[in-house]
């Protein structure tokens, strides 16, 4: 069985350079899925596009940081959502080791920063400016933080530097790190009941936008080098004294072997580019409409043929 596979692969690899129109291998293209809905649906959308082209597709659940190591080794074939802020570091590390490459950007931009649900504005009308936020820090105080406000940051391993920013901008906030995305939602969900003001870490595109309308806090505009050169930004002696970039990239990554093994699918992958509204719509189908990801993907493909048909032709 395996020998057979190897022979097939070897054959495909040998033939690939001869003609650009070489057949895609019949081995399944392995698409990783993670634990947030937009990525799961997008993976199914792309998987189903590949299937219409006659490819075999398989999905495997993986950790969103560890996945780059797997792409590099060819255990999985591609990754559809490389967030600049969240996964940029892992992606670049894998890129340096070799084995995977950048397969182009989506049209969508990503943003990750301090965020609040709309009802918070009632208690702190000056928002979204960060100075206004700091002035009503007491509104965000809890039993444990005394008279300082409480900011719930993402998990420590997301490296969001909330603590550094509080220090560099001299804010009256205590930074608490949640342990997982689920913990962030639970806090917002609990605050929703009695419309308690909260400020937490959040990002876009994300399902949360559909469930809880809200806004990002406007920090001093991101300037390149803000994380490396203390002189950059309002505080001349500190790093991280700016907000995060408001237009981070959203990339696709591919295993180096994909180009040769599935030339057709690879060609399509490089053309694929989703926009923010399209991604939000995919997430909405699952998170609000309660569809299963496979069905949401099928529905999305049915509703938007003009978007994806141009990539395959």
């Amino acid at each position: 069985m395996n020998k057979f596979k190897t022979v097939l692969t070897a054959g495909a690899l040998a033939l690939a350079p001869m003609t650009a129109l070489a057949e895609d291998s019949s081995d399944p293209i392995v698409i990783p899925i993670h634990n947030w809905s937009s990525q799961i649906v997008m993976s199914h959308v792309v998987g189903q596009i590949f299937e219409t082209m006659g490819n075999n597709v398989e999905y495997v659940t993986t950790d969103s940081q560890a996945v780059y190591e797997s792409v590099r080794l060819g255990d999985v074939t591609l990754e559809l959502e490389v967030w600049e802020g969240a996964f940029g570091a892992s992606f670049r590390a894998a890129l340096e080791k070799g084995g995977l490459h950048d397969a182009g950007d989506h049209n969508a931009v990503t943003r990750e920063d301090w965020w609040y649900p709309m009802w918070t504005k009632d208690a702190c009308p000056g928002l979204p400016s960060w100075e206004a936020l700091n002035d009503c820090a007491a509104v965000f105080a809890t039993a444990e933080t005394g008279d300082k406000g409480r900011y719930l940051d993402g998990p420590v391993d997301w490296l969001k530097h909330g603590q550094e920013r509080v220090e560099s901008l001299g804010m009256d906030f205590v930074v608490v790190n949640a342990g997982s995305a689920a913990a962030l939602w639970a806090e917002i969900g609990a605050a929703e009941a009695d419309k308690r003001p909260v400020v937490v870490f959040n990002w876009t595109p994300n399902f949360a936008e559909a469930v809880w309308p809200g806004e990002f806090v406007e920090f001093p505009m991101w300037v390149d080098g803000c994380d490396k050169d203390p002189a950059v930004g309002p505080n001349p002696d500190a790093l991280y004294d700016c907000g995060n970039p408001a237009d981070g990239y959203l990339k696709k990554a591919a295993w180096d072997g994909m180009k040769d093994k599935w030339p057709g699918a690879y060609e399509v992958l490089t053309k694929i580019s989703f926009t923010n509204p399209q991604i939000a719509e995919m997430a909405r189908l699952v998170d609000v409409e309660d569809l299963e990801p496979e069905d949401a993907a099928a529905e999305w493909l049915e509703a938007n043929p003009d978007v994806w048909k141009s990539w395959t032709s």
């Binding site: 659940t61 950790d63 039993a143 998990p155 790190n177 342990g179 969900g189």
Partner: protein, 662 residues
């Protein structure tokens, strides 16, 4: 044996024990002096915490060792070959259970056929009730729209559980045959049983590829220890008469094992099987972190998008599967093999097998005609996710609930937990080790005390001292609260047969319900704070405390309670002076398990947000930091083992002293 007898003498005779107590007091005194010195600022920093420079770079060494074994000795190549074999097996079950496009291209088996066969097996094992449970579980799974994901999980467990069984059985036999294997295996098993699961996961991914293969391997490793222990125990118990009979009838060594030893040890081996199944199910959610598909992965995705209702339904499915498999395997333990008269026709001897096959074939054919029998479509299921969601959220938002939890949160966080944590962190490292040693000495004696000193010394040298102390603090706080709630509950429930049974059922359910699901309501009630962490551990740690309190109290010899009644004791007097002292050794086992469970759960609680070892472990999972991952895991394991050794030693002593059976 001599060792135990000696130990008993020590406990029994006054002066010896007094010496032990004296040493313990001296240790505590030194610790107090050190701490006070620290407070007044006289203690040099080097004695407060081991200086960074003196900490051996264990993680770096381990990494080098791992890399050597992995690449230079070719272990990775070997395991990757094994992976292919394992993948082949997993592909077969995956094809059969949920129709993955792999050889043999037969599946998926229609859900009705699976449910039907489960009913026949249930009926064979224990009559109609079991049949209803078997079929009911699968019907629920199909109707709720979780069939495919549940079968993804089952397809891996179907490979992992038998694998764990065979490896465990073989190792168990080896350990029983050769004393040196037994000696070598015992400490490894103790470490394995206390090692946090995150430490299994990373090597599993590196050596066995992300996905179901790594999931199967991690599950197998996690489930092996009890199988080994039970096999060895069962084989040791086989009576010499039976073996002699085997010898007399001229058995070869192999025949003796196959036809004499193993059948005689049947009960223990089947208890081992039961344990294997339960541990496999406990790993369903955790292995989702390394790409195992199925119920666990879905649960994590649901929690990631704040869908409490759907998460809850998945939890129910996991509990149902666990309860069904648990009851069935227990019924199998009790069921003795049936023997037939000579010349009974084949179909009569294998009546249930024939029925099972017939039911299976019937539904497979029926499914071709009636599509609902084959698969319940996405829009046809009865999932009430949204409604349950609303219900849970409405309950959590009720004013009385909110007010109570706000108060608990305030009192616990501000007055108890945070000050307690800061206090523990303010104790100098050597003083802390002395305190733990004194505890082990006064409870367990010299042996455990030496281990305690060595183990905590190693933790101090690992360079993760503060995080270890925070981990320990969560465990101690949660277990203390669990005792305050769980033990009285157990005492009350033990008064009547009916309530005991109900409480034990509740314990079973709480234990198999995926612990992750507790986390979200805990956060919604108590925020991302220490209280949430302690509360979610508390639920889990209460289970063994309540269970063993009930068991301890109900197995107090009736002569004893009668004697107390005759002496005219009130119910309270009887409880305090007769029942509780006699039940205490058993309760200690529960206490020990509570601590082990707490160490397990404190790692899971990293998902709420902690600053302990669990958080660091969770962080390593995303990378390839094997060395650091291992060091962190060992820290948890060493602390857990210290308590395990001490408490178990104490319980054995007490039992011996009270003349109770083990």
């Amino acid at each position: 044996m001599a060792d135990v007898a000696n130990g008993l003498k020590v406990t029994a005779t006054g002066p010896a024990q007094w010496t032990r107590g004296k040493v313990a007091v001296a240790l505590v005194a030194v610790a107090v002096v050190l701490t006070v010195l620290r407070y007044v600022g006289l203690l040099p920093d080097a004695l407060f915490r081991i200086p960074e420079a003196m900490i051996p770079p264990a993680a770096v060494w381990l990494d080098a060792a791992f890399n050597f074994v992995k690449d230079d000795l070719g272990l990775l190549a070997l395991t990757r070959t094994l992976t292919e074999g394992l993948e082949w097996l997993l592909d077969i079950t995956a094809n059969l259970m949920f129709g993955k496009r792999r050889w043999p291209f037969l599946g998926p088996i229609p859900w009705t056929a699976v449910a039907g066969v489960a009913a026949v097996i249930g009926y064979y094992l224990d009559g109609w009730r079991m049949a209803a449970l078997g079929a009911g579980t699968f019907i629920w799974t199909a109707l709720i729209g979780q069939w495919t994901i549940a079968m993804e999980t089952m397809s891996v467990l179907m490979v992992a559980a038998p694998l764990a069984f065979f490896i465990g059985l073989s190792l168990g036999i080896l350990a029983w045959k050769h004393a040196w294997v037994n000696r070598a295996i015992k400490p490894i098993l103790s470490v394995l049983q206390t090692l946090p699961f995150f430490t299994y996961l990373l090597p599993a991914v590196i050596f066995f590829k992300v996905g179901p293969t790594a999931g199967a391997v991690a599950t197998t490793i996690y489930a092996i220890p009890p199988m080994i222990l039970m096999t060895t125990l069962g084989l040791q118990k086989v009576s010499p008469e039976v073996v002699e009979a085997g010898n007399m009838s001229g058995c070869t060594k192999w025949q003796l094992l196959r036809h004499v030893y193993l059948p005689s040890a049947r009960t223990e081996i089947l208890v081992g099987v039961n344990q294997v199944i339960m541990l496999c199910l406990a790993m369903v959610v955790l292995t989702a972190f390394i790409g195992m598909p199925g119920l666990g992965a879905k649960l994590l995705a649901m929690m990631g998008s704040f869908k409490l209702g759907r998460s809850f339904e998945i939890g129910v499915t996991i509990v149902l599967l666990a309860v069904m498999l648990d009851r069935m395997s227990k019924a199998w333990v009790v069921k003795q093999p049936e023997h037939f008269e000579r010349d009974t026709p084949w179909w009569r001897r294998h009546w249930y097998l024939v029925t099972g096959v017939a039911v299976f074939v019937f539904f497979c054919i029926a499914a071709q005609v009636v599509p609902v029998f084959a698969e319940i479509g996405r829009t046809q299921n009865f999932s009430q996710g949204k409604e349950i969601d609303t219900l849970i959220k409405a309950f959590l938002a009720l004013d009385p609930v909110q007010n109570t939890t706000q108060m608990i949160r305030y009192v616990l966080n501000v007055w108890i937990l945070n000050p307690f944590r800061d206090f523990l962190l303010s104790i100098p490292t050597p003083a802390f080790i002395l305190l733990v040693t004194a505890f082990a000495l006064s409870l367990g004696g010299k042996g455990p005390a030496i281990y305690a000193a060595i183990f905590f010394g190693l933790v101090a040298l690992s360079g993760w001292w503060d995080r270890s102390v925070i981990t320990l603090y969560s465990v101690i706080s949660a277990v203390t609260l669990a005792i305050l709630i769980g033990v009285p509950l157990g005492i009350m429930a033990s008064r009547s047969e009916k309530w005991s049974r109900r409480a034990l059922l509740a314990c079973d359910t709480a234990q198999t319900f995926p612990s992750f699901i507790y986390l979200i309501p805990a956060i919604m009630l108590f925020g991302v704070t220490a209280t949430s962490v302690v509360m979610s551990i508390l639920i889990f740690a209460m289970v063994p405390l309540t269970r063993y309190t009930i068991e301890g109290l109900r197995t107090v010899p009736p002569e004893m309670t009668e004697a107390a009644d005759m002496a005219g004791a009130t119910r309270m007097q009887k409880l305090i002076s007769v029942q509780l002292p006699l039940a205490l050794p058993t309760m200690a086992v529960g206490f020990n398990q509570a601590i082990m469970f707490a160490f397990f759960m404190v790692i899971v609680a990293a998902f709420i947000g902690t600053q302990d070892l669990g958080q660091e472990l969770q962080r390593t999972l995303a990378g390839t930091d094997l060395g650091k991952n291992f060091v962190l895991g060992i820290c948890v394991s060493l602390m857990a083992l210290t308590f395990d050794l001490t408490i178990m030693k104490w319980a054995t002593h007490r039992k011996k002293a009270l003349g109770l059976p083990d």
